[in-house]
Amino acid sequence: MKANSFFVIAVFALVIIGGMFLIKGEGTTATGNVVAGNAQVVKMYVDGGRYVLTPNEFKVGVPVRIEADISRMPGCSKSIVISAFGVRKILNAGDNVIEFTPTKAGTFNIACSMNMYRGTFTVLDNNGAKADYQEPQAASTGSCGGSGGGCGGGCGGV
């Protein structure tokens, strides 16, 4: 067997072994679909580049059901990330609901996946009081949200 034939086989073997070891699904990543019982129902839309949630305060430990008004959510604002609670979901007309259970109190961020459209909501503690914790805000990364235009076309093109 030629030396390079050995290396070709060895490379394939390494790729397969490495792949088996390293490639696994993101099993713990939430998709934003949590079965909710007595959920706190919240309406959401985008106004002036910011997410508006009504009401804006939730109770800790009680499932939240966010119902988005897709007609008022332009471009990439439909791609929602609530990193504090592991929520990542793309909304559309047929699936405009995000459900999750807030497990900690404080003020948290909601953003589009490119962090252009942003907003906050508050999770009250068990006594119904506001907690001091405030999730840090990321620095501004673009201006798409401000115009309310579609990020996918305007900002993405380099």
């Binding site: 390079n4 072994i17 490495g18 993101e26 990193s83 793309i90 996946s113």
Partner: protein, 229 residues
């Protein structure tokens, strides 16, 4: 000098004959390092493999394809302007895009861009200088754009089949690098260029070690944007 001859020379004793061996050495080094790091403490980090394993694996594969191309260029050292600019641009772009993409997918656009640009610009300069200042400029520009675009693409696809996109991006990059290796082979044979430099395996081992170590550290412990905290 056609593709058939190139494939034949991949089994030869020249610079082309070392390409597959370099892929093997790079892969072996990177995967060995990952195994050592895993048993030294990374295994205690919850969700390590599901979160970072896929991107680490493809980052390691990317380095195993970039390093042979770099070694191939270094073997001949000097090229005509057109070839040198293509070399600087291709290596700068791919060496910027791939790390930018994989680190962007785990750490966010800023850090993906920084790492991608740093890697792309460095390798773009190092390889572009085979034809002088034009190749260097081409390498800098391509590394700069590749790093930014890689991280940006990852963030834009965060909720849209990012993993599938990573596989596609990797396959396209691998095809481009294969094309670059063939171009170098063709140019050197047509110009009857002699090999001027032979890198030791230590070159591949050292770069694979450094790139994998930095990528792993960044993905697992490094700073990340708010979306990934």
């Amino acid at each position: 000098m056609n593709l058939k001859n190139f494939m034949k020379d991949l089994n030869g004793n020249g610079a082309e004959g070392e390409l597959i061996k370099t892929i093997f050495v790079s892969l072996a080094t990177s995967l060995t390092l990952l195994v050592i790091l895993y048993f030294l403490g990374l295994r205690n980090i919850s969700g390590l493999i599901p979160k970072y394993g896929f991107y680490l694996f493809f980052a390691v594969l990317s380095y195993a394809l970039i390093l042979p191309a770099i070694r191939h260029v270094r073997a001949y050292k000097e090229f005509a302007c057109m070839s040198g600019m293509m070399i600087g641009m291709t290596i700068g772009m791919i060496a910027g895009f791939l790390p930018g993409f994989f680190i962007g997918a785990t750490n966010g656009m800023f850090w993906g861009s920084i790492l991608g640009m740093a890697t792309g610009i460095y390798f773009g300069i190092e390889n572009g200088k085979c034809c002088g200042v034009m190749g260097i400029m081409e390498g800098i520009m391509a590394g700069f754009m590749g790093g930014l675009m890689g991280a940006m693409t990852a963030i834009m696809m965060l909720n849209d089949n990012l993993r599938a996109a990573a596989v596609v991006v990797f396959i396209v990059a691998a095809t481009i690098l294969f094309g670059l290796n063939y171009m170098i082979y063709k140019e050197t044979r047509e110009a009857e260029m002699e090999r001027k430099h032979k890198d030791e395996e230590l070159f591949t081992i050292a770069w694979s070690f450094v790139l994998t170590a930095v990528t792993t550290w960044f993905m697992v412990f490094g700073p990340r944007s708010i979306l990934f905290q």
